[in-house]
Each structure stands twice: as structure tokens, then as C-alpha cells.
């Protein structure tokens, strides 16, 4: 993981020489994402509708988001202050989501 972050160190020879690609982490991340998507597809048909199924889907989505943001967008290897500057605001989204789902349930009760 760390070697991907620094793979350009020591290879800058003015663009005349090209270093060999270091893509092991990228492909591993791809297989994780592809595998989880396949599992989501299977889960859609194997599990009966209910809270458990929704919880499994949300859990898998968060794992996929972690790999995309952490590895592909490289956030995992940035400084801590940047990581928190991105993550903390998204907590407000979770708050809004829960608040408005409850609100939607109340509208359903009143209809």
C-alpha cells in the first residue's frame, strides 16, 4: 500500500527512462469491488426482503466506497487532516438521511 504512494520516488530520470508499472494494488482493489458487486447481485435473489437484506446491502456499499475512496482516490494515503476534512462533513448526510426517513414514515402514517 505504502509503496504505491511512493512509487514515483527515485524513478524520475527526466522522462527518458520508463519505470515498470506497479499495479498489484490496483488490480487487487478491482477484484474486491467486482467480487462485492457479484455478491450484491446474488444477495438480491437469495435473501427475503427485510431489514437484514437492507443491512447487508448498506454494509457492502460502505466497503465498496471505502476501497474506491481509499485506494482509487488515494485518500487513505493522504495526511490525516485531509482525511477528516472529507469524512466528517459526510456525517451530516447520515443525520439528514435518518431524519428524513423518519419524516417519510410519519407522512405514510398520516395518509
Amino acid at each position: 500500500m505504502a509503496n504505491y504512494a511512493h512509487n514515483n520516488d527515485g524513478h524520475n530520470h527526466g522522462g527518458t527512462e520508463v519505470a515498470p508499472p506497479q499495479t498489484a494494488v490496483i488490480w487487487r482493489t478491482f477484484w474486491v469491488l467486482a467480487g462485492i458487486t457479484a455478491l450484491e447481485f446474488v444477495t438480491a435473489f437469495l435473501f427475503p426482503a427485510g431489514t437484514l437484506k437492507v443491512a447487508i446491502f448498506i454494509g457492502m456499499t460502505i466497503v465498496k466506497a471505502f476501497y474506491i475512496v481509499g485506494e482509487f482516490m488515494h485518500l487513505k494515503h493522504e495526511v490525516k487532516s485531509l482525511i477528516w476534512a472529507i469524512l466528517i462533513p459526510t456525517l451530516f448526510v447520515v443525520w439528514l438521511l435518518i431524519a428524513l426517513l423518519v419524516e417519510g414514515g410519519s407522512i405514510f402514517q398520516l395518509r
Binding site: Y4, N7, N8, H11, N12, G15, V18, A19, P21, Q22, T23, I26, W27, T29, F30, L33, A34, T37, E40, F41, T43, A44, F45, A49, V54, F57, I58, M60, T61, K64, A65, I68, V69, E71, F72, M73, E78, V79, S81, L82, A85, I86, P89, T90, V93, L96, L97, L100, L101, E103, G104, G105, I107, F108, R111
Partner: protein, 265 residues
């Protein structure tokens, strides 16, 4: 004498409340360049826009009844009274007319977008190595992936708008009389698959995401052109590939959430 000079300058440096050089430019806060930082801040604001759309979906979804076999009959059929089951709505695949293949096509679309994200990160990696040929190759793959996704979405929209062969019979109150009418497909005011709000949210959410993919493809083409004409090589770094890469991965990330909350749950 040299020793006294250093002892004299050292206290005067540390006595300053801050290092003046901090405010003279060239310093990268959070260890990220200006452009990358601004891209991150744009993406967090875009996150809020997409969240607003998906949270709206959740609110309206929860304000409608879900399909219940005990109340509405054992066999699921479309109705504008309750919210539809997504896998009953999205069950068509191009060239396989009449075949019930729930979520297959949208699953393929998800794979296409994830794969184009991989080729994008490979282009960024090639940029770190100053490998111009590889950057060009992977940017082209990324553009191709983006265009394939947009084409798939156009087909998906077209199918959704035109509807199934049988259509759905709905009952509605027209000037005091209950009348039955068969409707095909969906638009912003009527919807054969469920309540009209379901179609509205489908058009808004996937449409807003599709617009992001479209602008991403345009940006990718620009990056490919500038890499191919050697601009980044002359500049000495391929950081623009990274910045547009961040945007492209974000578009992929949004689709991961749309896939879960619109098609699976």
C-alpha cells in the same frame, strides 16, 4: 566568530511567532496541491447534492406503502398505489426481448463503470512514471468505458419510457368517475411501474448522474488530447490526470450508491 553569528540568528528565528515564509506562497496545506485540494472540496459539495437527491428518494419511498402479498395479492403486479420492487422494473436486457433477467443489465453497467475507474487509476499510475504512451492508452480505455456506460443508460431510459408490451391498467378519478385506463411506460406525470414520483426520481437521479458521466467523458477527452500532444510531458508532471481522475472515481462512487439505493434496496 562563526559560532557567535549562528547563536545570534537562531534565537531571532525562533522568537518569531510564525515562520514568515508560510505566507509567501509555495506551501501546500494538507500536503496536497491547490488543484487537488479544490477538487476534493468540489467533490464534497457534489456529495451533498447527490445525497440530497438520494435522501429525497428515501423520504418519498418511506411515505408510500410497500408491496405486501397479504394485502395486494400473491403475485406482484405494477400499481400506482404502492412502491414497486426494483427487480421487477429493471428486468430487461438489450437483444433479449421478453426474457425476464432482473438486474442483469444494471449489473453489467456497474461493472463497466468500475472497470473504467480501474483504467483511470492505471492512467494516473502511468503518469507517475512519466509513461506518456501508457497514459494515452489507459485514457482511451477510460473514455470508451464512459461512452459505453452512457449508451447503456440511453437504452435503459428508452426502455423505461416506452414501457412493457402489456402496459398497466390503472384506476383513476376523472371528474367524479372512476375510470380504468392502460398506460405504457413512464414520464414525469404518469408511470406504469408505480407512483409517478418513482419515475420522477428515476429520471432525476440517474439523469443527474448521467450528466456527471458525460462531463467526465468530456474532461477525459481533454486530458487525453493534452497528454497526446505532449503538454504534460513538457510541464514535467501528469497531475491533471490525477485531478480529473478524482472526479471520475467520484462518479463511479456515486453510481455504487445509486445502484444500492435505487436498484437493490
Amino acid at each position: 566568530m562563526a559560532a557567535t553569528v549562528t547563536t545570534e540568528t537562531a534565537p531571532s528565528d525562533s522568537a518569531q511567532a510564525f515562520d514568515k515564509k508560510t505566507w509567501m506562497g509555495g506551501v501546500e496545506p494538507m500536503n496536497a496541491s491547490y488543484g487537488k485540494l479544490m477538487m476534493w472540496f468540489f467533490l464534497i459539495s457534489d456529495t451533498f447534492t447527490f445525497s440530497a437527491l438520494l435522501v429525497t428518494y428515501g423520504l418519498i419511498r418511506f411515505s408510500y406503502p410497500a408491496w405486501d402479498p397479504a394485502i395486494y395479492g400473491e403475485v406482484f403486479k405494477f400499481s400506482n398505489i404502492y412502491w414497486p420492487i426494483p427487480e421487477k422494473v429493471y428486468n430487461a436486457v438489450p437483444f433479449l426481448h421478453g426474457v425476464d433477467a432482473p438486474l442483469v443489465f444494471v449489473g453489467i453497467m456497474t461493472f463497466i463503470l468500475i472497470f473504467s475507474s480501474v483504467t483511470m487509476v492505471l492512467a494516473v499510475e502511468a503518469g507517475h512514471r512519466m509513461d506518456r504512451a501508457d497514459v494515452e492508452k489507459y485514457m482511451l480505455w477510460t473514455i470508451l468505458g464512459g461512452l459505453t456506460f452512457l449508451g447503456s443508460q440511453a437504452w435503459e431510459w428508452s426502455h423505461f419510457i416506452h414501457g412493457t408490451e402489456q402496459g398497466t391498467v390503472i384506476r383513476e378519478l376523472v371528474s367524479g368517475q372512476w375510470v380504468e385506463r392502460t398506460i405504457f411506460g413512464a414520464n414525469l406525470v404518469e408511470n406504469q411501474y408505480g407512483p409517478p414520483a418513482f419515475a420522477d426520481l428515476f429520471f432525476f437521479i440517474t439523469g443527474f448522474h448521467g450528466t456527471h458521466v458525460l462531463s467526465g467523458v468530456v474532461l477525459n477527452i481533454l486530458i487525453f488530447y493534452r497528454a497526446a500532444t505532449g503538454l504534460y510531458e513538457r510541464r514535467g508532471h501528469y497531475e491533471m490526470v490525477e485531478k480529473v481522475g478524482l472526479y471520475w472515481h467520484f462518479v463511479d462512487l456515486v453510481w455504487v450508491f445509486v445502484f444500492t439505493f435505487f436498484y437493490l434496496v
